[in-house]
Amino acid sequence: MGQIKLNQVSKSFGDVEVIPPLDLTIEDGEFTVFVGPSGCGKSTLLRLIAGLEDITSGHIEIDGADATNVPPAKRGLAMVFQSYALYPHMSVRKNIAFPMRMAGVPKDEQDRRITAAAQALNLTDYLDRRPGQLSGGQRQRVAIGRAIVREPQAFLFDEPLSNLDAALRVGMRMEISELHKKLATTMVYVTHDQVEAMTMADKIVVLRAGRIEQVGAPLELYRNPDNKFVAGFIGSPSMNFLECSVEGTNVNHPAFSNPTPSLVEFAQGTTAVTMGVRPEHLNIVEGDNLTVELTEALGGVSYAYLRANDGTRLIVEERGDERSNQGDKVNVEFDPSRALMFDAQTEERMR
């Protein structure tokens, strides 16, 4: 069905290589999210899959067949754009019907699918309106409707929620997830928002500068990142990173009174490592190594922004009834098994 396979796919614009050769397999029915900071090549990668950009080298396979030189229309993929890209001169009904009209679907079958899609997406009352008369959320639903009726091998979403306001975004996020459960069709979704990635994905592909940094299930990436970039990108607030010196099997940092025993065995001659600890794994205890610079109380949790005497900054998540206040002098402690070690030079995870 909708398996998408990228084989040594690369893309250059002129002399600039935006995507170095990469391999990736998106399984049939999987919800895959491409995530990364802006300019990481995630949208370009999606457009390569769509066929809207030609690949510079490599092969793309869709459903087992080589699609490298197949035009976008013939790849059996439907795409939802960030700007919705509805046809402004057509009614909602005509917009949704357009791909079927192009494919020569019989009229009564068209009507049946439009009715079904409109019902599923709450658009029944708006079928005769123009896109210009709809709200952002409704427009995005029309764009999704236009994609559904084609019954594609896979859906491609290019940052579909970034033009919506925050409340609507959460709602649409759930709608898209439900749609995926119902249709069980492959979906490839591009976003810069790691929260969207975490909440929707079966599989996350983290990209940086056109390179795949790590591929995995959301919690797998969260708990077991391959490198400092993934560790820092996934999770909000971000993981704390501390430049530590190595002393035998312990690591030292001025922000902590005691050395931290490392569960990782360091190679001979290692003198420095970067230690990563998530804010929720740090506990505030009495002491005077750190100063509370700011606290953000969100209700269920608070985030305390701490500063050590040497300038190191830490974020700690607090949940209990007792929470720190601005100006407090404190210490932090944590379970050493929660600490992740990264090579100070290569930033690769040490396991």
Partner: protein, 276 residues
Amino acid sequence: MARSVTKQRKIINTAAAWAVSLLIFFPILWTILTSFKTEAQAIADPPVFLAFNWTLENYAVVMERSNYGRFLWNSIIIAGGSTLLGILIAVPAAWSMAFVPSRRTKDILLWMLSTKMLPAVGVLYPIYLLCIKFGVLDSKIALVFILMLINLPIIVWMLYTYFKEIPGEILEAARMDGASLKEEVLYVLTPMAIPGIASTILLNVILAWNEAFWTLNLTAAKAAPLTAFIASYSSPEGLFYAKLSAASTMAIAPILILGWFSQKQLVSGLTFGAVK
């Protein structure tokens, strides 16, 4: 903050605007007035403005002497045909320049525009000789082609500017939705650019309608449009101002009426929706 305009200032501005407009419009007004005078009143010194014996005699004479209908028909065919042909060629050209530009697209656009700066008379000989060679002197088809070519740079430029404002993602969506290139241009791009295409057509019809150099030089009797109709009253038996004016009025009336009814479209077209 809105600029403060005193009432007095406003009156002066309005009066000045009317004065300038009347000044610009005056020659046309004078032509129309003269067409209703007798030949004697037309050359009277001092000139008579409104107090003359209004007569339709000139129109009757002109209608009797020349076949207005044939000139009008030729004008319609030449202006309409060259515009239609130009649009058919310019839509795909502008599409490719706007949506799949190459490194040289800007240069080509400028080069096209530069051909408009060449004095037409510079190529009169070659074109005249070509027309003779192909046996199309004094034919509508030759003028349709020549006027189309002359105005093509402007049509392409206008359409290019319009197409540039259409978001590329919509065309990409059409491509994803299975539209072929032809369907993409026909069902998505063109309907979205209708206002732009309409004002381009209007402007081009007006330009072609008023074009006098080629229409006068390449026609004799068969294909002569309204420009030749006016010209035919300017010399043969000396100048007859009243009849010349009547002929002029009859020649410019259709395009003036067209322009009047489409002025809103024309203005929005010429300002390219720059203020959205």
